[in-house]
C-alpha cells in the first residue's frame, strides 16, 4: 500500500503530465521504490566575520573529540557532525579579504575588477563564476527524477538592502549575484503565494456569483446572454480550482505570525521563521538546495538578546588579548551554531515521506564563514562544519587538513550530491579533486 502512495507522490511532485504517466508507471521494476533514489539535500549556512579559533576548533582529531564552547549546541548531533580544519580560501586577485571571503567562498574563483573599494587592496566587482550550490542545482534540475519546483532557494536573515560584493554569496554566473530573500513573508509568498491566491479566489466566488445573478436580473433578455456566458466561465474557474486543490503541496501550509519586521532585534524570530520555511520547502520537495545567509560579510549584527551591545564586525577587529571581546564573539558564534542546531533538530524530527528515514539522514548542512578569524582577516582555516548524512560522508569526526584549497571541498559537495565534477572555480586550486577521506 505504501508503495502505491509513494509512486503517486513522486509523480505529483515531479509535476508529470498525464502523457508521461504510462512511461513512468511502466518502468520494469520489482520494487518501484528501489528505482527512486533517496532525495539528497544540501544546505549552506553563512555567518560573517570569522570565529574565535580557541573556542571553536576541537583539540582532538578523529572520532573521539570534544565540542568546544562555540560548537556546544551541536552536542545532540555530535555523531552526525564533521568538523573540517585546515581548509583555506586560496583565491587571490582584486578586492579585500572580506570581499573575496564571501565572493569566492562558494565560487572558488576570482572577483572581476570593478569599482567597489574595500578597506585594503584594489577595488573589485562581482565574482567571475557561478557558485557551487547553483552548479549542483543546475545538475539536479536536468534530471526528471531530481528536478524540483525551484531547484534552489536562497534564504537570508537581515541582509542589508544594498547589493554589493560584501552582501552576495550565491552567483548564477559571472556577474550574476543572486540576492537572498531575507523577508520571511516574501519567502512565504514565493512558496505558497499561488495557493493562497487560489484560496482567496475560492473564498469570494460564491458571493460573486450571487451578485452576478442580481445584476443579471436587471438586464434585458438580449444583454443577459453576455452575462450568462460570463457566469458559466466563472463556474468553470471554480471547477478548475477544485481540481487543482487535489494536487496540493502534501502538507499543511505553515501559519505565519503577523508583523515580524526586518529589524536587528528581531533576528532570532526571523531566523526561526526562515528555518521553518526551509523545512516546509523540503517537505513539499520544492527544492533540494538551500542557502541561508546571516547578515553579510562585514556584518554588524548587534545581539542585544545576548546582552551584547557592539556590532559584530567592530568586535571582530579586537585583538586576541581583549578577553571580553573574544568572549562576546564566542557567544555570537555559539548563537549561530544554535541556529544550525535548530535546523538539524527540525530535520531530524521530520520523517521523509518516502520512508527513507528522517530528513537529517538525507540532508547535509554546511556552516561556514568568509574568514578564518576576524582580527587577522585570514582566509586560512575557513570554518566548515558539516552536519547530517545527505552526502554520505563519514560523520562524527574532527578532521585536520594541511591547508588544502577550499575548491576541493566545493567539489566534494558536488560529488556527494551525485555530480562528480572534475574541477570547480579556478582550476589551479582543484588539485587532486575532492578532499581526501571524507566519504
Amino acid at each position: 500500500m505504501r508503495i502505491e502512495r509513494t509512486r503517486r507522490e513522486f509523480i505529483r511532485d515531479m509535476g508529470l503530465s498525464a502523457a508521461m504517466l504510462p512511461f513512468v508507471t511502466n518502468l520494469p521494476s520489482v520494487s518501484e521504490l528501489a528505482l527512486l533514489p533517496r532525495k539528497k539535500r544540501l544546505v549552506i549556512i553563512f555567518s560573517p566575520d570569522g570565529i574565535v579559533p580557541k573556542t571553536f576548533w576541537p583539540d582532538q582529531v578523529g572520532t573521539n573529540f570534544e565540542l568546544k564552547e562555540s560548537l556546544k549546541p551541536l552536542e545532540p548531533f555530535k555523531s552526525k557532525t564533521l568538523i573540517l580544519n585546515g581548509v583555506s580560501d586560496r583565491v587571490r586577485g582584486d578586492g579585500d579579504n572580506h570581499m573575496r571571503g564571501i565572493g569566492c567562498l562558494l565560487t572558488g574563483i576570482e572577483l572581476f575588477p570593478g569599482n567597489v573599494q574595500g578597506g585594503s587592496d584594489t577595488p573589485a566587482g562581482w565574482a567571475s563564476g557561478h557558485s557551487i550550490d547553483q552548479e549542483i542545482k543546475n545538475h539536479l534540475q536536468k534530471s526528471m527524477v531530481t528536478r524540483t519546483r525551484f531547484g534552489s532557494l536562497e534564504f537570508g536573515v537581515m541582509v542589508p538592502e544594498h547589493a554589493d560584493t560584501w552582501t552576495r554569496m550565491v552567483y548564477a554566473g559571472p556577474n550574476k549575484p543572486i540576492a537572498p530573500i531575507d523577508d520571511p513573508y516574501q519567502m512565504f509568498g514565493k512558496l505558497y503565494g499561488q495557493m493562497k491566491d487560489q484560496e482567496t479566489l475560492k473564498s469570494v466566488l460564491d458571493d460573486l456569483q450571487a451578485d452576478m445573478a442580481k445584476v443579471k436580473s436587471q438586464l434585458s433578455a438580449q444583454d443577459r446572454l453576455l452575462l450568462d456566458e460570463h457566469a458559466s466561465l466563472v463556474r468553470d474557474m471554480e471547477k478548475e480550482i477544485q481540481a487543482s486543490r487535489k494536487k496540493d503541496v502534501g502538507h499543511k501550509v505553515p501559519e505565519m505570525p503577523a508583523g515580524v519586521r526586518r529589524d536587528n532585534d528581531k533576528m532570532p524570530e526571523l531566523s526561526k521563521l526562515q528555518i521553518d520555511l526551509m523545512v516546509s520547502s523540503f517537505v513539499a520537495d520544492s527544492t533540494r538546495i538551500a542557502t541561508l545567509q546571516y547578515t553579510n560579510s562585514v556584518g554588524q549584527a548587534r545581539m542585544s538578546w545576548l546582552g551584547i551591545k557592539e556590532g559584530q564586525h567592530d568586535l571582530s577587529h579586537e585583538p586576541d588579548s581583549n578577553k571580553e571581546a573574544q568572549e562576546k564573539l564566542t557567544k555570537i558564534n555559539r548563537w549561530y551554531c544554535e541556529q544550525l542546531a535548530y535546523l538539524c533538530k527540525r530535520l531530524a524530527e521530520t520523517p521523509e515521506n518516502d520512508g527513507t528515514g528522517n530528513m537529517l539522514d538525507n540532508t547535509t548542512v554546511v556552516w561556514t564563514n568568509e574568514l578564518g578569524q576576524g582580527n587577522s582577516h585570514t582566509l586560512e582555516n575557513i570554518p566548515f562544519v558539516l552536519v547530517g548524512n545527505g552526502l554520505d560522508f563519514k560523520m562524527g569526526r574532527s578532521v585536520k587538513f594541511n591547508s588544502l584549497p577550499h575548491n576541493r571541498l566545493l567539489m566534494s559537495l558536488a560529488h556527494g550530491m551525485g555530480h562528480p565534477i572534475k574541477r570547480f572555480g579556478n582550476g589551479d586550486f582543484c588539485g587532486d579533486g575532492p578532499l581526501p577521506g571524507l566519504a
Partner: protein, 796 residues
Amino acid sequence: MSWEHYGTVASPIYTLFGLAGISLFLGMSAFTPGQAKPKPKAPAQAKTGAQIYQAKCAPCHGVKGQGGAAYPKPLTGTQSVGDLSKFIAQQMPPGPVKCAAPDAAKVAQYMFDTFYSSLAQERNRPARVSLSRLTVRQFKNSVTDLISGMQPSWGRGTRGGLSATYFRGRLWEGKDPIKRVDSSIGAQFGTEAPKVPGLDQVDPHKFSIRWVGSVEAPDTGEYEFIVRSDQAVRLYLNGQSKPFIDGWIRSSNDNEFRASVPLIGGQAYPIVLEFSKSTVGVDDTEKRKKLKPAPAFVELQWKRPKLAVETIPSRFLFSQEVRESYVVSTRFPADDRSIGYERGSSVSKAWDDATTESALDAAGYVASHCKLVTGVDPNAADAKKKLAELFLRTAERAFRRPLTPDQKQLYVEKHFVDSVSTESAIKRSLLMILKSPRFLYREIGQAEKDTYLVASQLAYGLWDTLPDEELMRAAAAGSLVTKEQVEAQANRMVRDPRAWAKLREFLLAWLKVDEIPDLVKSAKRYPEFDNATASDLRQSLEILLQETAGSEASDYRQLMLTQEMPMNGRLAQIYGGGLPKDADFQPVKLGDDRAGVLTHPYMLSRLAYLETSSPIHRGVLVARSMLGRTLQPPPAAFAPLAPSLHPGLTTRQRVAMQTKPDACNSCHSMINPLGFAFERFDAIGKARSEENSKAIDSTGFYRTRGGAVVKFSGPADLANYLANSDEAHAAFTEKLFHHMVKQPALAYRPTLISELKTSFVKNQFSIKRLMAETVVQTSLATERKPAVQTPKGAAK
C-alpha cells in the same frame, strides 16, 4: 413548402459567400442611392437580383422576405447561396415556367445578402446600446486609476526635462549642490568635472549627480530603458524600493545596462537616475587623487515599442516625481475590432482568466504595498477600520455609483472583520471588487439611468477610465442633469491629458498606423532610409498630430492642410529643410505639395512598397478613413505587377493596367484616382517630378456619393477637398463617435451623426469640441434623473 425541406447542409461555401456578401452589401448598397455607377460593360438591360426579386418574388414573399399572404413564413435560413440558387431554378416560381439559372443565382445572392442569412438578419436588427464590458484599455486604465486614486496624486511638474542635482561629493555629499533642469540625460564628462554654471572647484575624481522627475509613456506597450555609463549608475523607475537597473557595482567592462517594463500610454511614471564618479564602498579618494582622473560618461535612453533606441526626448520628461503607480502587466486577448473600433462586446475564457490574474496581482500589490498605496499602516491598531472606509470609497469609484447596504457588506465590510488578517481582508475585498460585473461592465441595469450613468459615460467616452472625484461629486450632487451642467464637465475633461491620449489613439487608428510596423525600404534604392529614419519619421508624425489636433484650436482643417512638417537634422538631410545635422525637431515648410497629415513622409512611406509608391494603398486609406467609403476586398489575392517587368511604365500606368478588368474596376475606379494624387511622392515620401524619366501625372478625381465629380491636380488639391468636404466631415465625425462611445450611433438617434457634424463645422472644426459634444449628446440621449435617495453614508 418551405426552404427547410431542402435539408440544412453546413457548406463551407456558406461562409465564403456570407463574408463576401457583407462587404458587397456594405460597399454597394449602403451608399448607392443616387450614385452614378461606373458604366457596366455587360448588356445594359440585364436585371439585378434585387429587381428580379421585387418583380417576381416579392408579391408572395414580401419586399423584405418577411412573408406575405400566400406564403407567410419569413425567408430566413442556413442554406448556402449555391443551394438557394439551385432550389430557385428548380422550384420557383410555382407553375411550369421556372426561373432561369443565371437569374436564380442573382436572386439567391440578393436574398442571402439582404435578409436570408443569419448575418443579414443580424445587420437588419435595429441598432441598440448593448451591454459591454470594459475594453482591455479601459480595464487597465481603470485598475491603475482605482489603485492610484486611493491617495491624492502628485503633480508632474513642467514638461521638458528632469530635475538634476549636481553634488561635489561622491554620494550626494558636499556643500552647495547645484540644481537645474536637464532636457536630456547624456553627458560626456571626459576626465573633467561637469561643466555646470555655479559648480566650480569640483574634484574630477569624485562627483555625483541625481536626476529626478517623471517620464510619460506615449503608447501602451513594452519599453526598454538603457543606461550607459562607465561609472556607478542606478535607475529607479516607477518605485524606489528596488533599482530598475542596477549598475552601481562595476564589474568587468560592460558599460551598458538594459531592462524592459510594460507601461500604459498617457501615464507618467516616477524616474530617478543616480550617477556617481568614484569607487563605492570605502572612500579611497585620497589615494586616487595622485592618479590622473579616469574618463566618465552617462547616457539615458529608451526604446519605445517597435521604435529605434533614442535618447529620451525632452517632451516625455517632467520635472517632478509623480507617485509610483500600479501597472497591469497581464496579457489580455485583443478586443473585438471587427466593425472598425474596439469594443467589449464578447467574453471568453482567456479574457476571464486574464481579469482574474490581474485582479489577484493588483490585490497582492496593494496588500504588500499597503502603506505606500493606501497611506494606512497595516500594523496600526485601527488599520482595518481605516482600510474598510477607504475600500468603501474605492468600491464606489470602481462601480461608478454608491453601494447599497447589502453591497457594502458583500464587497467590503464582511472582509474587514476582526478574525481576518489585514492582508487577506485587502486581498479578498479588492479581488471581489475587480471581478464584480459592476466593475467589469458598463451601463449595467436599465433601472439605473441617472447622473452616475452620465458621469460614467463622460469618463469612459473621453478618457477610457473611471470618473474622477469631481465627476463623482457632481453625480452625487445631482448636478449632471442639464445640458449646461454636462457640457461644463465635458469641456473641463477634454482639456485633460487623458482626453488627448484617447484622441491620439483614435488618430493613429484612423490613419491606420496604430500598430507600429517595421518600416523598411530597399537599401539599394533608398540607402539613406534606415531604422533611425523610420523611427524619426514616426516621431515627426506624432509631433504633427500633437501640434495640430492636440493643440488648443485642435482644428481638423489644420490637420489636413498644414504645410509645416516637423523635421530634425537627420530627416532634413533626406527631405530637405536645410537644418544642421544635429537639429532637434522643428516645423519646416517642405514645398507646396505638402499639405496635411496625408502628405507626411511617414504616411507616404507606410503606404508604399520597398521601392515604389502604392497609389492603391494611399487611395484605399483616403476612401475608407477620410471619406468613410466601404470597399469590398479584392475578389482574389493579387500580387502587384513587378516594376522590373514593365520598366517603361510609371507606377500610375502599371496600376491602371493591372486594375483594368471589370471585376477590379468597380472599386478601383474610386481608389486609383484618389491614390494617384500622391504620385508626386516616392516610396519614402520624398517629392519627385518624374519617374522612369516620365513626368509625374498626379491628377485625379473623386465621384461623390451625390454623383458629382471632383477633380484634383495633385496632393494639395485633394487635401483641400478633404478639409472642406461634407462627406469627409461626416466620416470623421462618425468614426470618432464610434471610437469614443463604442456603441452604434444609430442606437441613440438616426440624426445624431449629422447633428454632431453640423456643430463640428460651426465650432471651427475643433476636434476637441467635437469630442465634448459627442459625449454630451450621447449622455443626453439617455434618459436620466438626478441620483436620489443615495443610501446612507454613500458618496459625499
